[in-house]
Amino acid sequence: MTATLERVDVARTAPAKGRSRARARHRLTVLAFLAPAILGFALFFAYPLVATIGFSFTEYDLINPPEWIGWENYAFMFSDKLFLTAVYNTLWFVVVLTVARVVFALGVASVIARLKSGVGLVRTLCYLPSLAPPVAATLVFFLVLRPNEGPLDALLGWFGVEGPLWFADPVWAKPGIAAVVLWVSGDLMIIILAAILDVPQEQYEAAELDGAGAVRRWWHVTLPTISPVLTFGVVNSIILALQLFTQAVVAGSAASGSADVTGSTKVLGFPENSTLTFPVWLYTQGFRYFDMGYAAAMATVLFVVSFAATALLVQRMRRASHQEAS
């Protein structure tokens, strides 16, 4: 490994003494550039991560000193019905959002990529909603999907269809939130669009000479070429789904008819805990019930899962860069 260091930045003919001094200076430079990042990583990631794991073995209410209770918090997860509900809800989002988001973004991007004119305009229009804060986007959908009187129900009414109750119905609340997330997934669309536009034209031409139609060209040329970006989309969507908090909290609060400021335990998860995601329950435990130990145990579980997802991304990225190098 030291060989790398020398090879790069030290003049090849330098005498040994100068070389080691240069190496030391180089190290200092690197350190100087990285100092804030190292400190920040240690303070805001490494320490809290270790502390989270530590707290997860304690009973801690923020007031009295933490008290060691071993695996009790983890054991309690199995008798906490809402923990299982929260796991189910979040898994639902992981599965549905990952598939829906990638397919949806891919579909939209594929259409835009085929446009001969107006690409910029359509792209801008599709991206515009992504600029809305999640809170605002959710409130917008709450109004748009309002049962009986909202514009979507009015539209469905023209076709003689009675729309669902969306955020007020435990079956439809999650799809409603998924719709919000899809509406603001303009960034993934643009990523995929760029990847599609980057596919070398020659590949299409070759396929066309082989007599492949548009659909087969898309299937056999476009998809394989942009697969690394799709992998990114999948992992990014998993992480996004694991973190889903804001939309769930705002949708539940708005639909419950309660005027309680968001975050109140009275409305979390409304209706029937169908929007109680893992992070929402974690937040409730830690910052509403002051059971920091249990919240930390849940955080540790979340960490393990998101770590697995990250490992998947890193592995794929490595493989991609290997392919590129070879």
Partner: protein, 442 residues
């Protein structure tokens, strides 16, 4: 930048001395005995945190200022919009207020059992304060397992609201007194459109909507939270009776119909509220609604009455809750803080003025009987309820409102028809609550 690095350094220090920090300062009062009261002319300052804002905050500030009649040189800083998280954070950071006011009684068990709020018993005994002045229910929601760590500041009382015109239209002359009557009247005042959808609901039985919460309903059905041996006691005929009443009405409307109707209703504190919009004929709500209705919906002719009960002999019972205040652990001036709390809890003039100001129910017997209390016909119902001695407060546990959430969740799946066996379901809720209480270890 320099400031920032200091913050970062502090971070490290805090991380290292985490437990030391958590132990915190300010053991001076706590269990060792009451702190001395200040002299009459002493100069001192007190910080008060509350969750009030806007007009209500101004009224409370006025009430706090009346303290100066007793201690002319006191200085009181009142900070509004501070919820329970902030209070905990303040205690945790060793920088709490002298007096903390909490809007909910949900966390009282937590505050008392964790020592977040100092024990007030030594002060009560030293000063010979007569707690009998406070109605029983109010007294019960300001203490936990005999540990008095808070005092009340006004209270809310829940009763029946009914739309006089809508009842009259259905040929009903007096509000319902039993839940059987309520059921009957609700059906008679309900209006359905030709396609079967609801236009007006006589009484909305949907749990967790508006004030339809289990603790608010429970007293009128004689439902108790605990068994005599201190376990969660939801698997009882009374709770089952309450849920069956609810289910019968839900089935009358049809669950899907009802959900569709409810989803279109306005929010609890908006002018779109269903009662304001004459979309429901009867509801349960707190005394504060009288002020909202007079202000926002003057065309609604409404009356108030005690909420109907499952058994006639229970009539006149109701739910009560309120704002509580305590001296947080680590408060700088606990002796003076107690004087302020005593003043707000027991000084009749102050309580009456504040009750008139923010339209809440006074929390002492003397203030309830005070002629200066502004009481109109509708508000009187709630004052009478408060003096009846039959009110019941929130069940106090060390697990926040997790037990209330558990039964609320159960009631919503029950009304959706997702519970096959009611008693078995209730026993399961009991188990969850007992487990959580056991886990909290207090």
């Amino acid at each position: 930048m320099r400031k920032l690095h200091r913050a970062a350094l502090l971070c490290v220090a805090a991380a290292v001395s985490l437990t030391a920090c958590a132990a915190g300062s300010g053991e001076q009062a706590g269990r060792s005995g009451p702190a001395a009261a200040p002299g009459k002319d002493d100069k001192f300052s007190l910080t008060v945190w509350s969750n009030y804002s806007g007009r209500e905050q101004d009224e409370v500030t006025k009430a706090l200022e009346s303290f100066k009649a007793k201690f002319p040189n006191a200085e009181i800083r009142h900070e509004g919009s501070q919820d329970d998280d902030k209070i905990t954070a303040g205690i945790r950071g060793g920088n709490p207020p002298d007096v903390a006011m909490s809007f909910t009684t949900d966390n009282i068990g937590q505050f008392c059992s964790s020592g977040s709020f100092q024990e007030l018993k030594p002060y009560v005994e030293r000063d010979g304060v007569d707690l009998g002045q406070i109605p029983d229910a109010v007294r019960s929601y300001t203490e936990y397992k005999g540990n008095r760590c808070a005092m009340p500041l006004l209270s809310d009382v829940y009763g029946l609201y009914y739309n006089k015109d809508m009842l009259a239209e259905a040929g009903i002359s007096a509000p319902p007194k039993t839940t059987a009557e309520l059921l009957d009247f609700a059906k008679r005042t309900t209006k359905k459109a030709a396609d079967g959808s609801i236009e007006v609901a006589g009484f909305l039985p949907t749990m967790l909507f508006y004030a339809n919460r289990p603790p608010i309903w429970a007293p009128n059905f004689g439902a108790k939270w605990e068994t005599p041996d201190g376990k969660s006691g939801l698997a009882s005929p009374e709770w089952a009776g309450m849920l069956e009443f609810q289910k019968e009405l839900v089935d009358f409307y049809g669950y899907d119909n009802l959900e569709r109707f409810r989803a279109g209703l306005g929010q609890e504190y908006s002018t779109d509220h269903a009662f304001h919009q004459k979309k429901i004929a009867m509801m349960i709500d707190g005394e504060y609604r009288t002020a909202f209705l007079e202000d926002q919906a003057p065309d609604v002719r409404f009356g108030t009455a005690p909420f109907p009960t499952s058994k006639p002999e229970l009539y006149g019972i109701g739910f009560t809750t309120g704002t509580i205040m305590g001296i947080p652990k680590g408060a700088k001036n606990p002796g003076a803080a107690w004087e302020l709390i005593k003043h707000l809890s027991f000084d009749t003039d102050t309580i009456v003025d504040l009750a008139n100001g923010i339209k809440n129910i006074p929390s002492t017997k003397a203030a309830l009987a005070d002629p200066r209390l502004e009481v109109d016909e509708n508000f009187k119902t709630f004052v009478d309820l408060a003096t009846s001695g039959k009110l019941q407060g929130n069940p106090v546990t060390p697990i926040g409102d997790a037990h209330i959430k558990a039964i609320g969740d159960f009631a919503t799946s029950w009304q959706a028809g997702a519970v096959p066996d009611l008693m078995a379901g209730l026993r399961e809720v009991d188990r969850q609550i007992d487990d959580r209480i056991a886990k909290s270890g207090k």
